[in-house]
Symmetry: C2
Subunit: 363 residues, 2 copies
Amino acid sequence: MDETSIESCFVEFPTRDWRDSDAAGAVRLAVVGLGRFARNRALPAIADSSLCEVTTLVSGSPEKAKRLATEYDADHVVTYEGFRDGRVTEAYDAVYVATPNAYHAQYTEVAAAQGKHVLCEKPLATSVAEAEEMVAACEDAGVTLMTAYRLQTEPAVRRVRELVVEGVIGDPRHVSGWFAYRNPDQSPSADNWRRDSSVAGGGAMIDLGVYPLNTARFILGADPVGAYATTVVDTSGAAGDHDRVEARATFQLAFPDGVDATGFASFDTYSDNRLQVLGSEGRALIVSPFGGTVTQEVVVERGEARTSYAGSPVDEVVEEFEYFAYCVLTGTEPEPDGRDGVADLRAVEAIYESAERGERVEV
Amino acid sequence: MDETSIESCFVEFPTRDWRDSDAAGAVRLAVVGLGRFARNRALPAIADSSLCEVTTLVSGSPEKAKRLATEYDADHVVTYEGFRDGRVTEAYDAVYVATPNAYHAQYTEVAAAQGKHVLCEKPLATSVAEAEEMVAACEDAGVTLMTAYRLQTEPAVRRVRELVVEGVIGDPRHVSGWFAYRNPDQSPSADNWRRDSSVAGGGAMIDLGVYPLNTARFILGADPVGAYATTVVDTSGAAGDHDRVEARATFQLAFPDGVDATGFASFDTYSDNRLQVLGSEGRALIVSPFGGTVTQEVVVERGEARTSYAGSPVDEVVEEFEYFAYCVLTGTEPEPDGRDGVADLRAVEAIYESAERGERVEV
């Protein structure tokens, strides 16, 4: 693609480039964990999707679950114990795991043992070892495992990856990405699981830093080989009876062929996020990719030519469930599969180790 | 300053906040070195400035120097030898050193011994040791030494610093800045001094990386305490008979109080530059600060409030010469003094050492 034609690179592109055949039917889902994201984003998205439906809610709070079951027309409500016991396995084909991070492995493995496909929230687990067990369990059971990286199903982000792969910006040289997000759940005074190291597996890096990390890997089509990092533990607010997590992580990743990336993730900084790939001949910028349902503003430049795109807002969570269901219905391996989640955790562990040791750590 | 008032923070600000008294007279300059920047930017800027004038040109190319002397109405043309011998010392009050980096120290020390003030191009020298000798020479001689950081004289950048100091974005948390610049002088096939390690002192980091480095230090009012870095040596093109320099540097700096910065500098990447300070309560963005004469587009946000400013283009090089002359005429110590240049070189040396050792290096 030359300078004159990049102006047309966003004129037409498929909303769902992954849907190359017509998937039919509906995947029946059990939603495990009814926290804020599951309630506010996932359940409405499942209701809006054409390829899946919720039949089962799993929660430790029966009242909340019953209210939501009525609202979303789910037939079954079970406790975590009931889910583990396979109380209503005939009611669902797949499981969406939306528990705190430390319980992802357990419920993914329960689902796999039940022969159910799994869409698991990010990060896939709190450690590489746990995540690898999840991958093995799903492979052994012959079920699909997808890590819930909604960015990978966003049409404009996918289009940017295509353009980078096609060489529109030349050879990629440097990625800069960050995700700072303050929300009430993550304020210094909040005492929730995201601030409990043993449940979350870490702080801002594992919760927010995985977005620029995973999106950089997705666009570059490569895994980092080295990591440098610094973390800052938030000492304000009450820690409760758990270990304090990092409120901020600054990281630098070396990819093959001399490509570098810098990143920043924070709970206690003004909300701002951005991702840019600089290449030898141009740049591709996604203005504000990580905040959720936003107009995906994209800028691509090459030489003197510049094009920008600001499509209608896309609910990435709907896309994510549609993509997962499509993969299940057609037997397609998801792009953000279990190994993709493992690869991010390898980088996250290297980042934490680098911050601890003050050295570059091989990934 | 609260959310409602940040909208007015760029309504009025002084073009030259440093000029608190009326400086009178004109500083007569010798321009040492007539390379591309001196010819295309410095000589026109001196001609446009009200507080200085060029009287003397120093060059190894008599033809070029004579042509420029006619064009810019300079009375004297001398060789480097003639300058060292003090051939026309009565004709100038100050010296602008625009030679390749490795000669900055020599000509600064010659000027100081002549009792002349010095404006020296960045980087101040090719090493901390050299730069410290320059500072000592100028202090001993009682002359002004300014490092030519034109960004520090740019009105919008100075205003951003004021706003950050006033706490408009809360506590600074993270700075991201980069400067990628391809120009014909720096292409892989060019065989010029910027690609000769022994003359330039390094590659993209010392030539371009000092812009985000110095501007971050300027806005934060702090010096880095630790550095992590990766460099990529450009192996394309002919190296000539000199050591190859790095075509790219990716760096991460730890400032006091848990403030971090990430940076990138490159000769062989699509031209793009940016600087943003993220704070606990807001952000301050300078959209494209390092390219030269550009409209200084600035965005400041705090909470729900957002203001942006895009003033008329300011020729920073004119501002730089005006500021230098003002400092000389009023006996004011320049903000970008010799020690400022030394501080950047300390960080640059730590960055190179970190890239070499694969470890965090204390600055």
